[in-house]
């Protein structure tokens, strides 16, 4: 009926899941149906007890996000022209510029949003997906890691917005102009792809990590 993972998880915390009770819960609205029901009667979502297929989507989008993150760091994010002299800066270069200006706090915000969050997101999603694939049931802390990853992802967009605002604002002909660099595109894509990856993850897998092929 249920995998080993389920038994372990239940020993740690005595609760009954819909799956263990031979039911299937709707991932959208929480309504419960007997196994075999196709769609939720309440909200119309397709009913899956544990969406193992979601893992493939998670990996595909995660991989895409990691690939486009490379050009995002190599190519310039901003091209600043002051008095006819053009200067290009990458994501990390922009952080150092801010430190030079003495804005340590803002440099920290940009560094966390553009480097720390994306990289730790890659690691966290891969770690959680690997655990599920190995059939290791997770605990509340694994779930909270997932929740955090899902919540924090959108904040990485800060740097893309900064580039958009600066490019719109700083158009003073000869004195100073700012143009977006190609890295802005790949960075935005990277953030979007990792967000899709995290959103595709079925969090119910984290708790009991059923082995592939196991029946309900």
């Amino acid at each position: 009926m249920s995998g080993d993972g389920m038994a372990n998880a239940e020993r740690a915390q005595p609760v009954v899941t819909a799956r263990a009770a031979g039911l299937v819960g709707c991932a959208e609205c929480g309504h419960v149906f007997p196994v075999g029901a196709e769609r939720c009667r309440v909200c119309g979502t397709r009913l899956v007890s544990r969406d193992m297929a979601s893992l493939q989507k998670v990996w595909a989008w995660l991989f895409a996000g990691m690939v486009v993150y490379i050009p995002a760091n190599v190519y310039p994010m901003l091209r600043t022209t002051t008095f006819g002299r053009t200067q290009e800066s990458t994501i990390v270069g922009g952080v150092f510029d801010l430190i030079d200006h003495g804005s340590i706090g803002v440099a920290l915000i940009v560094f966390v949003a553009s480097v720390v969050i994306p990289v730790s997101k890659f690691i966290a999603i891969a770690y959680l997906a690997l655990r599920v694939q190995r059939g290791q049931p997770g605990t509340a802390s694994h779930f909270h890691l997932y929740e955090f990853v899902e919540f924090i992802g959108r904040w990485s967009m800060i740097d893309v917005f900064v580039v958009a605002i600066l490019s719109a604002l700083v158009q003073l002909n000869f004195v100073a102009t700012i143009h977006p660099g190609i890295a802005a595109v790949s960075f935005a894509l990277s953030v979007a792809f990792t967000m899709i990856s995290a959103n595709s993850f079925d969090p119910r897998l984290i708790w009991d990590a059923p082995r592939e092929g196991t029946q309900l």
Partner: protein
């Protein structure tokens, strides 16, 4: 105001007894019988959408909150007049959004040269060549998706707030609103503005325009509004109202 009472406190009432105790004491055979019996009355059970743990639907007082015993996800949070408030806040947010988009957002001046730019200009910043898709993306994230979400919420909740039956397609529209939620990034944009201000501070004088404050108001209202919404509760209400 909000009591963070878990579902299954130590209430002596038998109905409130945790399901887990009843189920775990049963032998496998009894358990199957128990399941079969349960499928007839599954409508008073709810499975946490995030961890699948079964809960018996609680009778909550208005303002109380019920959380999943395992993962802490809010499962029920009925509020007095929640729907009216969501509708009012969404309408306010829409009005603020119009102001935020078209009024000047920031004004930059250096050596007598001045430039006012609106959110609209920030969107158009990427409109050259290869950057055009990014222009669309920024427009979507800070204006189109938030506006779609406010309209969707008004469509779903306004008829119910007035005591009418839910609008046609209310379910699909609410699902859309929930799907859009992570992609509506007005508050991220505000932090972006703050960072941009620091970056140009050495270069020129920057003044905040009225649209900036409209946007700040918009962000506060969005956060307030989302606090009134609990997905599972909304589905319960939608379900109850469309049956009657």
């Amino acid at each position: 105001m909000i009591s963070l009472a878990p579902f299954f406190d130590n209430s002596p009432e038998p109905v409130r007894q945790p399901l887990r105790f009843r189920a775990n004491r049963l032998s496998p055979v009894a358990r199957i019988a128990y399941q079969t019996a349960m499928t007839d009355s599954v409508s008073d059970l709810i499975a946490c959408p995030k961890c699948d743990v079964l809960h018996k639907l609680p009778q909550l007082e208005k303002g109380a909150q019920a959380k999943c015993v395992r993962c802490g996800t809010v499962l029920m949070a009925p509020r007095d007049g929640a729907m009216t408030r969501i509708v009012m806040l969404s309408i306010t947010a829409l009005i603020l959004m119009i102001a935020a988009v078209f009024f000047p957002f920031l004004e930059l001046s250096v050596k007598g040269l001045g430039r006012k730019s609106s959110v609209f200009d920030a969107i158009l910043a990427f409109s050259e060549g290869l950057m055009l898709p990014l222009s669309f993306a920024v427009a979507a994230l800070i204006v189109v998706l938030p506006v779609t979400r406010f309209l969707a919420l008004i469509y779903v909740f306004a008829p119910m707030a007035l005591g009418w039956a839910p609008a046609r397609q209310a379910r699909e529209v609410f699902k859309l609103a929930e799907a859009i939620r992570p992609w509506a990034m007005a508050e991220v944009f505000i932090i972006g503005v703050a960072v941009a201000l620091v970056k140009v501070a050495g270069l020129a004088q920057v003044t905040l325009g009225p649209a900036f404050w409209a946007f700040v108001g918009l962000v506060i209202i969005t956060v307030l509004k989302d606090n009134f919404m609990c997905r599972v509760t909304v589905w319960q209400t939608l379900n109850a109202r469309s049956q009657s």
